[in-house]
Amino acid sequence: MLGSGLLQGLAVTAKNFVGSFHDPKRFVTTQYPEEKTRLPEAYRNFPFLVSENAEDPMGTLRCVACQICEKECPPQCIYIEKSKDKKPDASGKQQIYPAVFDIDTAVCMSCQICVEVCPFDAIKMDQVFELAATDRFTGLMLDRHALAKPNSYFHQLHPTEAAEVDDRLATERKAAEEKARAAAAAKAAAAAKPPAVPPPPPAVVPLPPPVPPAA
């Protein structure tokens, strides 16, 4: 009969109207600035640099400025300048560090490829999403100070992944220490050798020459 479909439709809307008052499955709105939905652990938005120590973020960055992420970044939003000198990292090893590490969040598409390709677990995904700035150029260009976040923050955001990373790093460090100890023992055995040079930075790709700053 003409109109039966219309009446059926009206019944559905009426059901939804009533349901929106008592049924949380129907009424799904979150009143955003006051309420916030809980972000899933996997949620990612914009990268940050992991530092071991919150007190001295610049001194304890895991990043060694190997520039793999800069090369792999699909939209080319990462800009790294290697340091000319070396500084001790968190474990006291002499490392090259990033003199400049900028990420243009206006260009970044949060694809996580920099995180995946980083061999040092130095760059991880953040969960910030309220980055509104009034100035496109400076407000969205994050330098290494703004990017550096302590490892505890990483634990807070992605507990599972952070625990894995810490385990892996610990085993690697242990293996390295054992290797170093073995090497030291071997060295002691061959005491006539000259003192060992510090190990080279573990860069895996040939590094391009540093780009001079535009200014």
Binding site: L2, Q8, G9, T13, P40, E72, P74, C111, I113, V204
Partner: protein, 390 residues
């Protein structure tokens, strides 16, 4: 553009265009619908010539969202193109990912672990649900329903997006598939959440259909409108639900049997008239079949690794060769044509965009119908401009 040269290919009724000035009828009205029109689904533009309200000529104009995706793909590493595929058809990033990953895997001869294949099927079918749900909402919005079906569709879509987010970290730009598997394994409880969603989706579809499928106004607006013949559909390269609504049984999940689809029991719904209503209904029925696939996949998914251990993330250089690989995306056949010269970047990176090629028949479908129907027909073709313009 002159009015005296209708496309010689248009075989639709009303294809002959009369003179612009006609003593008795008055003027033909040339309307530029888009790129800022509310119902062209983005920055699509149609140059429509109207006789009264009847469409006598319709020329689509593309390119407002063109960013030369293929050139970017040729200047980016294989891996670096993966997040860009998210942005082709931004409703279906998971299937785009899969299509691209499959093409590269075929190019490099890589295998995929079983669990990853299951995850891919699950995500592809969730994407199909998502896309078809959105389409039904948009189509009804184009018919003039004041947002209600669209909001219901979006309410359900959000649930699927939540699943994507908790798996891949992003709601729409998933960037989840990798060559040789998937990026991360499903977190604890994810599969249960997917099961719950799948089980509840049928009742949503029931309610949605009660709202609209039997609605006389919807039937009057869509039945007999924009009929697509099977012959034209095949010749014009139309794929996906449009092709099946025209009555052609061609579903790549059955034909190519890629992934683990041959393991699942599902049917391919076919339309008989090829009109807008069939296009709508075929999608609704496909959603019901997708639910069946999802239930089977979520029941059978094995434990195990999700990444081929031999897969390389950095320094991935496939041997020289060429491949064209395609899968059944929600909008139709999405294919990737890759030529490798052995370098880190593909020598040629080509996307076969189903949205663009499905638009080939837009004029044929619209001719002779009113401008209101043209909008609905466009909605039923289901385009996303990110993919049309690339």
């Amino acid at each position: 553009m002159s009015f005296s040269d209708p496309s010689p290919l248009s075989a639709a009724p009303g294809a002959s265009v009369r003179a612009v000035h006609d003593e008795f009828h008055g003027d033909l009205l040339e309307v530029s619908m888009g790129p800022h029109h509310p119902s062209t689904h983005g920055v699509f533009r149609m140059m429509v010539t109207l006789d009264g309200e009847t469409v006598v000529k319709l020329k689509p104009v593309f390119g407002y969202l063109h960013r030369n995706h293929e050139k970017i793909g040729e200047n980016t590493s294989y891996l670096g193109s993966m997040p860009y595929t998210d942005r082709l058809d931004y409703l279906c990033s998971m299937t785009n990912n899969w299509a691209y990953a499959l093409a590269v895997e075929k190019l490099a001869g890589q295998a995929v672990p079983e669990r990853a294949e299951y995850l891919r099927v699950i995500l592809a079918e969730l994407t199909r649900l998502l896309n078809h749900t959105c389409l039904a909402g948009f189509l009804l919005q184009d018919c003039g329903a004041s947002g209600t079906p669209l909001m219901y569709a979006f309410r359900e879509r959000e649930k699927i997006l939540d699943l994507f987010e908790s798996l891949s970290g992003s709601r729409m730009m998933c960037n989840y598939q990798r060559f040789g598997g998937c990026r991360v394994d499903a977190p604890a409880g994810w599969l249960d959440a997917a099961r719950a969603l799948t089980d509840g989706y049928g009742s949503f579809l029931d309610e949605y259909e009660a709202l609209l499928t039997g609605n006389e106004i919807l039937m009057a607006r869509t039945q007999g409108i924009g009929c697509l013949s099977a012959k034209l559909a095949v010749s014009a390269g139309v794929t996906g639900p449009l092709l099946r609504a025209a009555g052609v049984a061609y579903d790549l999940r059955k034909v190519d049997g890629y992934g683990f689809y041959p393991r699942f029991d599902f049917r391919v719904p076919l339309g008989a008239h090829g009109d807008t209503y069939d296009r709508y209904m075929v999608r609704v029925l496909e959603m019901r079949e997708s639910i069946r696939i999802l239930q089977q996949a979520l029941r059978d998914i094995p434990a195990g690794p999700i990444m081929d251990p031999k897969a390389k993330l950095r320094g991935f250089r496939p041997k020289p060769g060429e491949v064209y690989s395609r899968i059944e995306g929600p909008k139709g056949e999405i294919g990737f044509h890759l030529i490798s010269e052995g370098g880190p970047n593909p020598y040629r990176y080509r996307v076969r965009p189903p949205s663009l090629i499905n638009l080939t028949i837009l004029e044929d479908l619209c001719l002779g119908h009113s401008i209101a129907d043209a909008v609905v027909i466009l909605g039923s073709i289901d385009i996303v401009l990110g993919e049309v313009d690339r």
